[in-house]
Amino acid sequence: MTDKPCIIEIDGLWTQYGDTVVLEDVNLCVHHGEVLALVGGSGSGKTTLLRHILGLETPSRGTVKVFGVSLHEGDPRSRVDLRNRWGVLFQGGALYSALTVFDNIALPLRELHVLDEASIRTLVRLKLDMVQIELKHADKMPAELSGGMVKRVALARALALEPELLLLDEPTAGLDPDLSDSFVKLIGDLRKELSFTVVMVTHDIDTLFALSDRIAVLANRRLIATGPLKNVMQLDHPFIRKFFAGRMAVAGA
């Protein structure tokens, strides 16, 4: 199974702002169907790496390919098409504050210009149903929603185009443990149902244990380890020891 194709392929990626190096020679391959968690301390470049995968940053050196398409060169059409194949959940939700919940989810569907309004309405209802948002909230503005609901609506919007790849930035940050658990369960269930590949940035160890197949650890601007959680936890590195220390103590108690 080692030569499964890479959905995301990062090759020798460097990022530099002036003299500050943010990422140093990062190589990563995300396989089809897996859940890869990106962990690392604050300022280790997790968010920058995610922004590279999303094509929001231009690498100083190296290449990033998603679905085999380079994000910064080549045919602009295929780069646009690529953006219909992934769904992104931003940390703060990034819902369009001027649109209602319904219109936020309908927007990507409408932008395809192929579906009629009736289908769009049904699809939006399906997505709302999937993320367990009641229909009565569909007319609300994002500002009227609670934090947990914002995340769920943002997830519904990320799922609107039936993505093959889902990118989650801190999916459980800012949620209480209860909501966080149910959100993780929701993503797990949806993953079983829709079988997408997931890349997520997270700090939350519970989320890591519950969802990830493999984890990639960023420390000191480099990718220090990639592999299944069990193996990575065995590694002897100051960051990894510290990061998992709490969890091991809990497990040991």
């Binding site: 030569d3 499964k4 194709p5 219909n84 194949r85 369009y96 504050s97 001027a98 319904f102 395809l112 192929v114 579906l115 009736a118 289908s119 309405r121 049904t122 699809l123 209802r125 399906l126 997505k127 149903d129 229909l135 009565k136 569909a138 007319d139 503005m141 994002p142 500002a143 185009l161 039936e162 149902e193 829709l194």
Partner: protein, 441 residues
């Protein structure tokens, strides 16, 4: 193609060479059974589709090389089962990405097939099915699954979800004949609300000033100075340029008319009074309303959105003292100064144009100015500037504090702030004109 994921599976295809001579369906079935668990469907579909497209036996390399790309477009095929019933076989990837291209052509065809209730729908050949694909079929079927339907087990859930979708429709805002009336009422109430807010803000400002008068230590000098710099010093270039141009334009217009009556020298009176009394203050105020008023509204609005106002409040720092008072004070000082500056550049422009048109020397123009225009006009202009500055800052703050945490409200609030302050400036200017009609003319 060294690392091709299908290299491992070439082996079993090689072992299938024996079946090449068999009929196509037998061939496909054998390929299907021999394929690895994860690829069964893909192989089956690919095999079937190749038959469809080429109506020939596919070569093995055809089969293996393109298989990783399982995104075959959705396809239909009508067939007859052994017992004579019509069977419609669906194949390919029925997902949004692949349907995008063929949706318009597929939809009518599906509806035509769905009209036949005895038709057997065989959907086992579908490689990928997502909500959009399921919805397309479900709509074609008339919002329920047909009687004769063969599904792959993993697709059952999709249709279950559609079938159980609650019948409640989305809330619709009802059309009401009274809407215009209600809208008018809302507008009126909103104006009243703003007036009330304005008075409250004014009162708050008075209280703050009284408070600061007793404790001068707390006066936010630094903020006042920063605001003076932003609203005053940084506006010098634009107000100066505009004043100069207006002066030139007016001077040209008036000199043409005055020359007809041989009253050339009155250019000084006309320019002096109109610029010092009206144009200087109004031009400067309109520019400042657009420039500083909008930025004040936007700043307060964004601070509301990002909860910075709340942060100030919980630290016990009253934002009326730290944010609003400095703006109001600074603009009340900087606008009259800008008025003087605009007056000066406008008169200079006027004098230069008068020199060109009427041959009145610039020095002569300046010497005659104090005699031709009573000094009261200058003080009136400066007083207007102070009033306008005070009003613009206060209105900008009022609208800034009322912005709701969304982008649309921010945009609307900023626009309304500028439009309102310019309107108020002109209204107050008219009041000045009436009240001071006897002064300086």
């Amino acid at each position: 193609m060294a690392a091709h994921p299908w290299t491992a599976h070439r082996l079993f295809f090689n072992s299938l060479r024996a079946y090449r001579s068999r009929p196509h369906s037998v061939f496909c079935r054998q390929v299907y059974y021999a394929a690895g668990a994860g690829y069964k469907t893909d192989v089956w579909v690919k095999c079937k589709l190749m038959k469809l497209r080429t109506s020939q036996q596919p070569t093995l390399s055809d089969m293996t090389d393109n298989l990783v790309e399982s995104n075959t477009s959705p396809a239909l095929r009508e067939a007859h089962a052994a017992d004579g019933t019509r069977v419609l076989e669906l194949m390919g990837a029925w997902n949004l990405r692949n349907l995008k291209a063929s949706l318009r052509t597929l939809d009518p065809g599906l509806k035509a097939y769905a009209a036949d209730p005895t038709l057997h729908w065989n959907m086992q050949g579908i490689a990928e099915l997502d909500n959009a694909g399921a919805l397309l079929l479900w709509h074609a079927w008339g919002r329920h699954s047909p009687e004769n339907l063969t599904l792959r087990p993993e697709h059952i859930g999709l249709f279950d979800r559609l079938n159980t979708l609650s019948e409640t429709t989305l809330p619709h805002s009802p059309h009401d004949l009274l809407t215009p009336v209600i809208l008018l009422g809302k507008r009126t109430l909103s104006v009243a609300d703003h007036v009330q807010g304005f008075i409250a803000l004014l009162g708050q400002l008075a209280l703050d000033i009284a408070h600061l008068a007793r404790r001068p230590m707390l006066i936010p000098w630094r903020e006042i100075s920063a605001n003076l710099y932003r609203t005053g010093a940084q506006a010098l270039a634009i107000t100066g340029l505009l004043g100069f141009l207006i002066g030139v334009v007016l001077s040209y217009l008036f000199s043409k008319q005055l020359r007809i009556f041989g009253a050339d020298i009155f250019i000084i009176n006309i320019l002096g009074i109109s610029i010092l009394r009206e144009l200087g203050p109004v031009i400067a105020a309109v520019l400042v309303a657009g420039r500083s008023g909008s930025s004040m509204t936007a700043q307060l609005g964004v601070m509301r959105v990002t909860q910075e106002l709340d942060a100030l409040a919980v630290m016990g720092i009253p934002y009326s003292v730290r944010l609003i008072l400095p703006k109001v004070v600074a603009l009340s000082i900087s606008l009259p100064l800008l008025v003087l500056w605009t007056d000066a550049t406008a008169l200079l422009g006027g004098a230069l144009a008068a020199k060109v048109q009427l041959d009145i020397g610039v020095l002569h123009f300046m010497n005659q100015l104090p005699d031709a225009v009573p000094i009261a006009n200058l003080w009136l202009g400066v007083g207007k500037g102070m009033t306008f500055g005070f009003l613009i800052a206060l209105i900008a703050c009022l609208f800034g504090l009322r912005i709701l945490p969304n982008t649309q409200s921010l945009a609307a609030g900023t626009t309304n702030s500028v439009v309102t302050s310019i309107t108020i400036v002109l209204l107050v200017d008219a009041v000045f004109a009436v009240v001071f009609s006897d002064v300086g003319v």
